[in-house]
């Protein structure tokens, strides 16, 4: 015979068991007279508890409601600043998503334009608009790496890094912005979760 399931019988009787646990208790109860007896006793107890008389002699419903109405204090109006703060707090994730979408759009558009310009699609006008078009680096400079010696390659890379590459500092700024937005968003989520958890556990304990 399997191990007794005494501790689970209450939950079984209350219909709180499911799946494997339920099947286990059912199977055990079917073959164990002691646990069946326990279960029967729990059923008797539940029936006995119901015999406790209901409350009597209390204030009739309408009078009860009227008495409460008399005791209701005017609800203090929430200060405007607090309302504004709450609204701002709720708008944080939406704003962050908006900023993220904006950054993404700017980067994609800028990237496309720059790639087009580097590809020579912009003609002479483009040359003037490119970051450091006079003094800076072009993609072709990178391809030169295969034709030069190690010392020259180092020099080229150094200058490449100094100049920020063919797309300028945009990727770095983009990455920093994304990390920043992500951090803010997760911080907001974490604090929302903490507040949510606290409000769930918070019990209005004192009057007033």
């Amino acid at each position: 015979m399997t191990k007794h399931v005494t501790n689970l019988l209450g939950a079984y009787l209350d219909g709180e068991l499911k799946g494997r646990l339920l099947r286990r208790v059912e199977a055990h109860v079917a073959q164990c007279a002691a646990c069946r007896g326990e279960l029967e006793a729990l059923r008797d107890l539940a029936a006995l508890l119901k015999e406790s008389p209901p409350v009597e002699g209390i204030t009739p419903p309408e009078r009860f409601v009227a008495q409460i109405e008399l005791r209701l204090s005017p609800r203090p109006e929430q200060p405007a600043t607090q309302r504004a703060l709450e609204m701002g707090w709720r708008l944080v994730p939406v704003s962050l998503l908006g900023v993220w979408a904006f950054v993404q759009t700017v980067f994609i558009v800028t990237g496309m334009v720059q790639v087009a310009l580097w590809a020579g699609l912009g003609g002479d006008i483009a040359a003037g608009l490119l970051p450091g078009s006079e003094r800076g680096w072009r993609l072709s400079d990178l391809f030169r790496l295969s034709e030069v010696g190690l010392r020259d390659a180092g020099q080229i890379l150094l200058e490449f890094v100094r100049g920020g590459g063919p797309l300028g500092w945009a990727p770095a700024i983009y990455a920093v912005l994304l990390v920043l937005i992500g951090l803010l968003y997760w911080s907001w989520l974490a604090s929302w979760w903490a507040l949510h958890k606290r409000s769930r556990l918070e019990i209005p304990n004192s009057a007033g």
């Binding site: 409350v55 002699g57 409601v65 019990i203």
Partner: protein
């Protein structure tokens, strides 16, 4: 609840300070709240006052209610806390043995016997610790699920189960005589 107004609507009106809406909520949940505090306190007069106190607290803290859990459970949570406070205040003066016996009219022996049994049960429930009693009352008299009890009292499901087992075990031992009848 008046036709056309859901509980959510009444709650949101009450949150804005509508007393009529709140009164409507009181009407809807009066019975349950009174029952919970009565089972917790064991005295009709105390239960009446405690239930009113619970609704006053609910009004004062209504802005803190979030509709993640049913309004009824939120009210029960307040009711259990109010009942605990009342019991704490009464602890030095109130003796379970001195609690007024529920009104009983003279009648056939069977009726008297049933009433006596009911009284014994009431006192046995009152002899439990407040924590175990709260779980037992919400389960046996209000029919809340373990999950709802856990949410209402802010305790883990495992604790609900263990407190319920403990309470039932204690009651079985103290009411053995009546269970054998």
């Amino acid at each position: 609840m008046s036709p056309g107004e859901t509980e959510e609507e009444l709650i949101s009106l009450a949150k804005e300070g509508d007393r009529q809406a709140f009164s409507q909520l009181v009407r809807c949940h009066r019975e349950g709240v009174v029952n919970v505090v009565y089972r917790m306190c064991g005295d009709a007069n105390l239960a009446d006052d405690a239930a009113q106190e619970a609704f006053i607290r609910a009004w004062q803290h209504l802005s803190g209610y979030r509709p993640r859990s049913p309004f009824r459970n939120w009210l029960y949570r307040i009711a259990v806390n109010v009942a605990r406070d009342v019991l704490r205040r009464q602890k030095e003066t109130l003796d379970i043995g001195e609690l007024p016996v529920a009104s009983s009219e003279r009648g056939p022996d069977e009726v008297l016997e049933r009433e006596e049994r009911g009284e014994r049960v009431r006192k046995a429930v009152l002899s439990l610790s407040a924590a175990s009693r709260a779980v037992l009352v919400l389960r046996e008299y209000e029919g809340l699920s373990y999950r709802e009890i856990a949410d209402t009292l802010g305790i883990p499901m495992g604790t609900v189960m263990s407190r319920l087992n403990y309470a039932r075990d204690r009651l079985r031992r103290s009411l053995t005589h009546y269970m054998e009848l």
